[in-house]
Symmetry: D2
Subunit: 149 residues, 4 copies
């Protein structure tokens, strides 16, 4: 199965959550798995969108308590690794879609690029060479899928 990682902050920002939900919906509609960090904000919204499309969702949680996951995650993995779990999200994903910004998202993007995973940015203010920035969630998912070898 194709796994698309969705990265972005856990802060609740309405505009970003709306984008994330559409990204998750498109991933689910394509039959791919949505993988994220299992918490709130972009993580919750993308999982919610994926479930609306009938997709499978996996969340790699920072803590040890599976109950801390959002209710749209089918398979919570309480890694107990803290932010280090970002590495696992990158490693398990065939491509990643970054929504919004922040240092956490930046470190995930840098990790993904070092591991040569395709990274597509939507509404991200992080401008790094090799991050393909697109305008719409639909375009983000189709680009991600087209870049997977």
């Amino acid at each position: 199965m194709i796994v698309i990682g969705v990265i972005g902050s856990g802060d609740e920002v309405k505009e970003l959550n709306t984008l994330a939900e559409e990204v998750g919906f498109e991933i689910g509609r394509s039959g791919s798995v949505t993988l994220n960090g299992g918490l709130g904000g972009v993580m919750r919204a993308s999982a919610m969108g994926a479930k609306r499309a009938g997709g499978l969702t996996i969340g790699f949680l920072p803590g040890l308590d599976p109950a801390q996951t959002n209710p749209f995650i089918d398979i919570p993995v309480p890694t107990g690794l803290g932010d280090m779990r970002n590495f696992l999200i990158v490693r398990a994903s065939h491509a990643l879609i970054a929504i919004g910004g922040g240092f956490g998202t930046l470190s995930e993007i840098a990790i993904a690029l070092k591991m040569k995973r395709p990274v597509i940015g939507v509404k991200t203010d992080i401008l790094i060479d090799n991050v393909l920035c697109v305008e719409s969630p639909k375009r983000a998912v189709s680009t991600a899928l087209s870049l997977i070898k």
Copy 2:
């Protein structure tokens, strides 16, 4: 979704593989997810059994190369953690079924008991208090499911 971890050696031992395949089949038949280390031996056989029953399979690989997974794993997670990935298998599982023995299996059992996850042993020569030893794969899976809170 309920996740049952299957732990056991990667060595190819016919008797253990037969048991592992039946364990995987029963997990899949129950609608639960089969999680293991993604390689050969007990890991390959249990994933094969799970797929025969139409179940979902996840493999937490020790290395970084997803291609090293066995062909019955739907979602390979190339953790790059080496044997440390055993901790993640324990953490992500609601209950664990141990098949056979060896130091790797022993360390996983010890980790699982320390995290208070139920551990059911089938044909294991590892005798530790708190590991419930049962005779058949069917019994192992039904016991595991009954112990999940």
Copy 3:
């Protein structure tokens, strides 16, 4: 520098702490580094002994807060890995000395044996082939040093 890992429970058991302090003292006296999990019980006592002998001490803590280390650790490493940090203790040690028992100690011993590190047991009730059980702390450290290639 030679690094000797000391493994054992964080529970305060007077008899085990006395042994651990002597083990640490002997490691320090030999000019080797004492590495442990940085918390209480056997970890605190072995670090205290090592410092009494002027040795260097390193603690791989389970949490993220370096302040949780005991005061005899020169270099606390707040791994944030939980019990998974046991793997790092094993990997960084040339040999390991296990004091007492419990599931945590058992899992560390199993990990060490799988990685082919020498393990010496003092007052441990864990009877596993390949764990050399000796009577005194002095003998434990001299045996550990003699087994390092």
Copy 4:
């Protein structure tokens, strides 16, 4: 003991190695521990400088083989975590000095900033708010030490 992490690429770039050696020398001269990734380039050079000043050096290696460390590391820790070991370097350091650039360095800087560790940049082309850029190795170390609470 104060631990200063030195981050930078393993590529051999003469100009950066010269800076790294001076950074290591200043850390060692201050009585602090030099912590890095244990390999070549900036990691080798900073450890070499630290040893010239009589300082203690620790290397958190990506692989499992301690022999892959450079000869100036007193205590190699073969983490087996791959690039994930960057997190441990950040977590164990009171402050970090970044030399040069690249995606690996960028991800370490982002991780450090998320964990609120002071980051000082020398000759880095990575321009991020909150990274203090200074001109000389001496200034980098004195700034790092002054920022540690």
